[in-house]
Symmetry: C2
Subunit: 311 residues, 2 copies
Amino acid sequence: LTVLAGGVGAAKFLRGLIRCIDPAKITVIVNTADDDTFFGLAVSPDLDTITYTLADVAHRRQGWGLDGDRFHCLEALKRFYPDGGWFRLGDADLATHVYRTDRLSAGARLSTVTAEITRAFGVDSTILPMTDYTVRSIVITDRGKMSFQEYLVKHRARPKVEKITLKGITGVQAAPGVLRALREAELVVIAPSNPILSIQPILAVEGVKETLIKRDGWTVAISPLVGGRAVSGPLVKLLDDVRHYPPKALSIAQFYYPFLRAMVIDRRDWARDADEIDSHQIMPIASDLVFSTAEKAAAAARTMLRALDVR
Amino acid sequence: LTVLAGGVGAAKFLRGLIRCIDPAKITVIVNTADDDTFFGLAVSPDLDTITYTLADVAHRRQGWGLDGDRFHCLEALKRFYPDGGWFRLGDADLATHVYRTDRLSAGARLSTVTAEITRAFGVDSTILPMTDYTVRSIVITDRGKMSFQEYLVKHRARPKVEKITLKGITGVQAAPGVLRALREAELVVIAPSNPILSIQPILAVEGVKETLIKRDGWTVAISPLVGGRAVSGPLVKLLDDVRHYPPKALSIAQFYYPFLRAMVIDRRDWARDADEIDSHQIMPIASDLVFSTAEKAAAAARTMLRALDVR
């Protein structure tokens, strides 16, 4: 079973999925287009959110960062970076970035380093960056061009987005294992992540979309919308800004159209969305998609697996 | 006034000196041969000890590191570096190393970065690394070859030292401002540091010894010995291991012989050492050299300045 994942939304789903399926049988392919460099340190927010969540050490309430982490180093960094500190890196979290930076400087590939980090955290699933190369989401807004983290965290997703481009994406190779994990999986799940910011970059990596189109098994997406609102992040605003899409299941499905065969939508959206999805030859599956607890996410995962007859 | 300095011993003296002389008139040339890389971060222990002490933020008891610092990041780093963590880098201290590493990776010189760091800490004195290039003390012991920090911190200076070599020293240029600070100073003070580990590397930098020999003003050393023991560090053991020198003032003076014109020795050593020093055309100055408080260091600095008629 292979999952395409962004950050917090995907992590919350995965926290449930590993209660239904042996974690060792799960491969997660993670977006790295929102990676960034802070204080010279290589930060991979989505990879870390997934890793910390699967290791059960993530911060419960906020979803990212480490539970119980402090910010002494960040406070001290502000002495040197008066404009820094808006990206909240905790003391223990920083250790991950220091290690990643150290290894990358020594010439190691991001996928190798990611395997080392997940192993150090005792994660049994395989977590793969979409690519070992540097791809960056550049957000073009009414307040200028900015990195994704500047848009999301520094400016709290307030600027109006005109366009999102992927710097470095042209012809970029998938990380080792990515295409095989897509080809050989019985089921590919697109996590309830932002299709524009988190999943599109993965699909833009050389060979990913082609492999998804060619494969025989199911590809299912979990809708990141509940009752016309995003479970987390600026999805609704972005759908409108960038595509003028309304906040409904079909708007999400359209990003995955050529290979999507099923979609889990929230019960609250069923009446409005199910028939429309179905009319596009995508099987709708109803579930509760507010993953406030791991058990709720597990229930949705179980519903999905049962509907698709995967065990 | 220019001071040649190592780490903790020098810092304790400087803490007193800045109470007698306008800190802005003091240039400190600091040993960088015990710099090292931990977790991929560029650590300059002597530069930082001097900076933190002059900024009055150093850890009171231990002399190095920042007062009140915690070790959450270091604890988390052990997850990735099972053999690491013996070099105690605090959370706030790490910020300095992260910044230094970031700037050096961007191509900045160590002297530039050091100026930025001292400015950020509000230090009024000029702190210069001896060189912008990488020089490393390699300690050859009965337990093998090791870096200086491995010898001092990891192995607690226990191995028997056969030899100390300076990797990268050949023809290495002094950092900008170093030779001028030596040439133009009214007084050059060699801080009570380890002559073998801390001062010899500075003297080995191209032009330093020559400039000291040629200059007209006083050059004075503060003895790092009190009653035949080192104020801090493995000095006595090293003098014996490396040179078979006894722990007395003349053994220190011999490292500085061609340019040393005065030496401050502890009152406890006066009866034994003063005449011997004097017979080598080095003016002995008596003071109390246990710098347990800044006021005691200031008293010694005042005694020295008065004896040399420097104000």
